[in-house]
């Protein structure tokens, strides 16, 4: 890692890195990228479930961030700002992809039966859970993924999604409730 060699003090003040990046310092830009890319990519992957989409979203997030870095006033943490861009990019991407997939699915649906509906087959709980998460309303799913899977705090989620931390808590609670309902139908005693 060239950037890490150049900036051995990984905890170098982020504001200084931003200033250097704005001044055209490529190593500082790389340092900022390295500091945040893992979380952004993980979030993008969790939300999209696809490596290519996650890469696209991550790249677009950072490109937008670098383009508008001069407008970042430091009122919030850079990570919060980055994650709000990332969530926005991911949701836009998913809306487009879903629309495309829905059309394909409509055509394919007639040709295949849903194996989960076959009588006498106990559905795999993890698969059902995945399906249930996928079926959650978008903002419930984002909050659930960010909080339960990626460990964001409600404050971070609220800042990224532009809502109060209390709203984030409420959405997480509703998301879990829906999952519980969804799993109760398939997993019997497990979810009761």
């Amino acid at each position: 890692m060239l950037a890490r060699l150049a900036y051995p003090a990984a905890g170098l003040d982020e504001r200084l890195l931003i200033q250097r990046t704005l001044g055209g310092d490529d190593l500082a830009a790389r340092e900022l990228y390295d500091a945040h890319v893992d979380r952004v990519y993980r979030l993008a992957y969790r939300l999209t479930g696809d490596d290519e989409l996650a890469r696209d979203c991550t790249q677009e997030t950072f490109i937008r961030a670098f383009q508008h870095l001069g407008e970042f006033r430091g009122a919030s943490a850079l990570s919060t700002w980055l994650h709000s861009i990332a969530v926005s990019v991911c949701l836009n991407t998913l809306r487009t992809v879903r629309r495309l997939r829905r059309r394909h699915a409509d055509l394919e649906e007639a040709d295949r039966a849903d194996p989960g509906d076959a009588p006498g087959i106990e559905p795999d709980v993890r698969e059902r859970l995945k399906a249930a998460i996928d079926e959650l309303p978008e903002l419930y799913r984002v909050v659930l993924v960010m909080h339960d899977l990626e460990g964001y705090t409600h404050e971070e989620i609220g800042a990224a999604l532009g809502m109060a931390a209390g709203t984030s808590k409420a959405r997480l609670s509703r998301a879990r409730g829906r999952l519980r309902e969804a799993l109760a139908r398939f997993a019997g005693e497990w979810a009761r």
């Binding site: 490529d26 830009a29 790389r30 990228y33 390295d34 890319v37 893992d38 990519y41 993980r42 992957y45 969790r46 939300l47 999209t48 479930g49 490596d51 996650a54 890469r55 696209d56 991550t58 790249q59 677009e60 950072f62 490109i63 670098f66 383009q67 990019v89 836009n92 991407t93 809306r95 487009t96 629309r99 495309l100 709980v125 993890r126 859970l129 995945k130 998460i133 659930l144 993924v145 339960d148 899977l149 879990r176 999952l179 519980r180 497990w190 979810a191 009761r192």
Partner: protein, 303 residues
């Protein structure tokens, strides 16, 4: 099971929900760094213009319908067309006013399109409908297909009155027009119809591509659409239609642009490719030439 226990289980089971692989840092950084240095920006993914394809299809069908109707009228009225050839002026009611026409200047102005005169043996085909060396002097009789060429004004292959073709014209079989097909036979009409349809679709695609923001180019369906038009374009390049130098030039330019669009992958690295496409479109004036060539195709299809 109480809520706490359920939430614990939920977190445990959901841990492998879309479990991310290791972050491909360097691969992504290469793209981001390119964009930072102004070597291109990724396409923002926003709603795609899915309605463009049906709209283009409808437009193509309408143009085809017009073409068929026009052909039917032309075939049943050869004397009128012959009169046009002799006088150099269109008969009343013979001006097509509904079709776009870029004219010699390659602009977007809409002007009436003159019907082609009836060709004598080896007579006017795609390029032979008329040929004024100075379009500015004779705007009403602008050689429509000549506008399809990006090069300097071309010599007419056949004059409106049935003059001799140039020496450098490709060899033709007896009774063939410049398209290489007998102009009074159904295959010639079929060529013209296919040409018209292909050029119309090409125009629709390029218009959509230019008018849209980068999101359309990120849509994989734009590539599919381009490939669909690429097939007839290549067939036309191998057909007698391409015997006309201007038409060949236009088809080759169209093929190049379609190939470029078809190869867009939707990745951020496409921005340079899109810029190149835009440059090609502008430099070769392709859209204007396409618009100008569509009525020329219809004209050529006449008997």
């Amino acid at each position: 099971m109480n809520d706490e226990r359920f939430n614990e289980l939920l977190r445990e089971l959901a841990a492998d929900y879309n479990a991310p692989p290791p972050t491909p840092r360097d691969a992504m950084w290469a793209v981001i760094d390119d964009a930072r240095r102004g070597r291109g920006l990724p396409a923002p993914r926003v709603a795609s213009r899915w309605w463009l394809r049906p709209a283009a299809g409808i437009a193509a069908v309408l143009v085809l319908g017009l073409a068929v109707g026009w052909l039917a009228t032309s075939r049943s009225d050869p004397p009128a067309a012959a009169a046009v050839a002799g006088s150099g002026r269109p008969p009343q009611g013979e001006m097509a006013t509904a079709l776009p026409h870029g004219g010699e200047t390659g602009g977007d102005r809409r002007a009436p399109i003159e019907r082609a005169p009836a060709a004598p043996s080896g007579g006017a085909g795609l390029a032979g409908s008329a040929a004024a060396p100075s379009p500015a002097a004779q705007p009403a009789r602008a050689p429509v297909l000549a506008a399809a060429s990006s090069g300097p004004a071309r010599r007419p292959e056949v004059t409106a009155a049935g003059g001799a073709p140039p020496r450098d014209a490709p060899a033709r079989r007896r009774g063939e027009g410049p398209t290489g097909r007998a102009v009074d036979t159904p295959p010639g009409e079929l060529d013209a119809l296919v040409t018209t349809q292909t050029l119309t679709q090409g125009e629709a695609l390029i218009t959509a591509f230019r008018a849209a923001d980068a999101s359309l180019a990120a849509d994989p369906r734009i590539g599919v659409w381009a490939r669909e038009i690429l097939v007839p374009t290549r067939l036309l390049l191998d057909s007698p239609v391409a015997g006309d130098a201007a038409m060949r030039g236009l088809l080759e330019d169209l093929e190049l642009v379609l190939l470029q669009i078809a190869h867009l992958s939707g990745s951020p690295a496409d921005s340079a490719e899109r810029a190149w496409i835009a440059e090609t479109l502008a430099r070769r004036d392709i859209l204007s030439r396409l618009r100008a060539a569509v009525p020329a195709g219809l004209v050529a299809a006449g008997p």
